[in-house]
Symmetry: C2
């Protein structure tokens, strides 16, 4: 607020407004607000004032009612409970297995980056980046995706070839309508191939990976839409879109999966000032879907073929389809000219996987503590990616490029679907893997139980004992039923005398005495059967 006025975009009225407020304190909030709406005030100034008022409010609240603080997670974030974690673990295992099957290594990067590392990489979305408070030292921001940190990592370590996956949380100060419901902290699950290779081979592998993962997760039928940044740009050029409007028209085209063409056209013409003729020409192209044949047809299209870049893109689409055929996933891949992914850094092929069965798309729910749950859109996008050959070069001091192509699995949506499936299913989700509960029907056997459970742990058996000295047998058995523990090892005076343990199968209630010496082998035998 009091720094170089040029930088902060401050004017004299803004200064006055803030100062007045400062002198008279918080009671003039209303007045300060009315002053701030005067002409000449910037949005940034207003934001800043609002932020200060809110902080003030929080503090005043804190002083007055010290212990009445709100028990919640930050807006747009959520905890994962053990059940959700069990589902998450299963999903991650499926995905990681696939990445490993394709020979990927993994890396990790810090949750925050230097602010300038993220600057200029996300276009309009940059406003959604979380900044850390300047507490002295470097200016930092939370990562917005895993792609930019990956590019920074490659440039920093001068790596020109790598196939890596990275699963981690990213942060976006998104403020969507509740019905669209998105998290501000969410997982990304990325697989990328960096290196100068023959065209479309790594790109085709990315599509193959998406097919494998979506099939294995058993989410229902899906399609992968494919397009190319160069085809989009070429199309805009031959349709008469001025160069400086490519990006903004592209982001309007991107809305075609959410709104009908008529509305998209309206936005192009009325809001973005495109001529009606250009919009109509675009409208013809973006309704086209097909396979290799469509790419061939467009290469012959009198208008499209005028654009060199469109032709380069179309040739690559043809090549891609030939590899997709070898991978036997042609039926899953569609060349769709309406696909226009938002991010600035894509340079070639782009793709997005959508679930085609309406039934499995997550419905709109309000998650715990008011945070919005995953969204319901008519067609659920569950993976996306593309080629970004210029991003690493933005970080390299000499601008050396490292071509990259990658895919990101929309894991949050997958979680939602899996959670709903689990809810709907009769089968209980186990949150632990305990194989046997050490129990007793009699009192004063805590020491014996601890000795036994310790033996089991030492043998690598997953075992539990209740932390009460004299729990009721019934409550011990109930715990087993609730948490799905299959076996109970019951100790009693008689069993101790006989050197045996009563092994009970929770499901059947069968009980059998097993000698202490054979117990571990018996438990292993029975739990490996299951």
């Amino acid at each position: 607020m009091f720094l170089n006025p040029r930088y902060r975009g401050m004017n004299s009225l803004g200064m006055f407004c803030v100062r007045t407020f400062a002198v008279v304190g918080c009671r003039t909030a209303t007045r300060a607000r009315s002053l701030c709406t005067s002409p000449g005030i910037t949005v940034a100034q207003i934001d800043e004032e609002v932020a200060k008022l809110l902080e003030l409010k929080a503090k005043i609240g804190g002083d007055e009612v010290k212990h009445q603080f709100v028990l919640k997670t930050a807006k747009g974030t959520r905890d994962y409970n053990p059940k959700q974690m069990a589902i998450r673990e299963k999903v991650f295992n499926t995905i990681i297995s696939c990445f490993k099957r394709h020979g990927a290594e993994t890396i990790d990067t810090p949750v925050f980056e230097l602010k300038e590392t993220l600057t200029g990489k996300y276009g309009e979305d940059s406003k959604l980046i979380y900044d850390l408070k300047d507490q002295g030292g470097e200016l930092l921001s939370l990562r917005y995706d895993l792609t930019v940190p990956f590019a920074r990592y490659l440039a920093m370590n001068k790596i020109t070839n790598i196939k890596r996956y990275h699963i981690a949380k990213v942060y976006r100060r998104d403020n969507p309508a509740m019905t669209r419901g998105r998290y501000r902290e969410f997982y990304q699950c990325d697989f990328d191939i960096a290196g100068q290779y023959d065209a479309m081979i790594p790109d085709a592998e990315c599509l193959k990976i998406v097919c494998e993962i979506l099939s294995e997760l058993d989410l229902g039928d899906f399609r992968i839409k494919v397009n190319d940044r160069r085809i989009l740009d070429g199309m805009f050029a031959v349709c008469g879109v001025p160069d400086d409007k490519f990006r903004t028209i592209c982001s309007t085209v991107d809305k075609l999966d959410k709104m009908p063409w008529e509305e998209v056209k309206k936005e192009m013409v009325n809001e973005k000032g495109l001529s009606e003729e250009a919009a109509d020409q675009i409208g013809e192209y973006v309704s086209m879907q097909g396979g290799m044949d469509l790419a061939e047809r467009l290469l012959q299209d009198p208008k499209m073929s005028q654009s060199k870049q469109a032709c380069a893109g179309l040739s690559d689409i043809k090549l891609l389809f030939s590899y997709v055929q070898l991978f036997q996933v042609t039926d899953k891949v569609v060349f769709d000219l309406s696909l226009a992914r938002g991010l600035d850094y894509y340079t070639g092929i782009i793709y997005e996987a959508v679930l085609t069965q309406a039934g499995v798309a997550p419905v709109c729910t309000e998650a715990q503590n008011g945070a919005p749950a995953e969204e319901s859109v008519s067609v659920g996008s569950v993976a996306g990616g593309g080629r970004y050959d210029g991003l690493v070069g933005m970080f390299d001091p000499k601008g050396r490029k490292v071509p990259c192509v990658g895919v990101s699995i929309g894991i949050e949506r997958v979680f939602s679907i899996m959670e709903q499936k689990a809810e709907a299913s009769a089968e209980k989700v186990r949150t632990t893997e305990v194989q046997v509960m050490v129990a007793s029907a009699q009192k004063n056997l805590m020491e014996e139980k601890l000795k036994l459970v310790s033996e089991l742990w030492n043998a690598g058996i997953k075992a539990e004992v209740m932390y009460k000295k004299n729990p009721k047998l019934l409550s011990q058995l109930q715990h087993c039923e609730e948490s799905g523990i299959p076996l109970v090892a019951i100790l009693g005076e008689q069993e101790l005398k006989d050197g045996v343990v009563k092994l009970r199968v929770v499901a059947t209630r069968d009980e059998v005495d097993i000698s202490r010496a054979d117990l571990i082998a018996e438990i292993r035998r029975r739990t490996s059967e299951a």
Copy 2:
């Protein structure tokens, strides 16, 4: 800066100082600084000014030399490369297996919490918390540990019983000397048992878990020091430490593992104003180490036995040792009166595991991009924890308590040790799990190779192919040797005609023709042998 002056601890001079600076801009930085050193300026104000100057500096720099930005990770953070990740995965697997063996569930919480959730939980260390920039909305901070978010989770969800582990990164704006080297972003690996149970049973299980993990990680010999907050407090009371000096004297005692008693005493007397007599009495106690016998002796100690809380702590130590004996880890556990862990929230038993073999303690190294690596202290602390019965109650609106005990594995130090071991060992760390490379000696076989690799993927075999149409066989074989891929499936015109694949064992260079129909079974057989 312009909010309620009471809150910000502002005075008129401070205001004047800041305003002057604002009006004349950054050229008066020197003048502003000289003004700020005038009497009556608070540290907070100075910090704020410094922060603004630094931000200004960063911005000016940014404008002048736009493309010369520093390619680095944020101070105190690091990337993990694939080799480090492979080691990390191994360590995590060992630890998670142990937690699961003991029947733990897992949860996850957001990386940031409401600022007020963390307020007042960490004593002096609160200054190390990372705050997020106020961009409107809630005031947020990065989590400082996993314990406070766990307590918040329990209170918020009204959970009174849970055994959970949580492995995630935490954040501390630590600024240690390079030689001590700590990360600002690092993993914590926590196991906690919440619930009202019979005394010392969950506490003993925590110690058992530490023993299992440290043994399985094979880090060399170790000891777990045990003490009790109540014994410390009782000891301070009977030695004549004034009530209001318990915490500060406790944090001085905590330094005993890093400095000799004489220096610790000097700090108590000279810096903290303790009487020499009191310090000497403390000195006698904190030199004591032992087992159950020491606890018994101290229960008879004429002075110590005057403190009710000390006696409660000593009785619990005795009980703990009886369970530790049942778990057969008595030789690893030492009752040590000098152990005084810093965190405010502990209420009962506390413990810390240290490696006793000097050889394995990590040496001081400078990690990549100037970030300090893990520290070398004479004795390496690798795990710690204790009982915190009051923390959940701080979050519950009605103050309902949920007793908790837990342990945190010092995973970063474990990583360092494992990395050093890997460096020292002849064995190569594999960063992928690829079982077979699909290769060819001849040109123009890309399509056939892609078909084969796709078959292998579909069969669940981890396989790779080079992304070049016509790579040299030698470079394909070299890649296998470098990344430890055991098998190569070689395709050639002749093999295709004969319906076979030449399977080569990289280590022995043996080659054998396998029919296409048997290939998958043969690869499985050979890779399961290894």
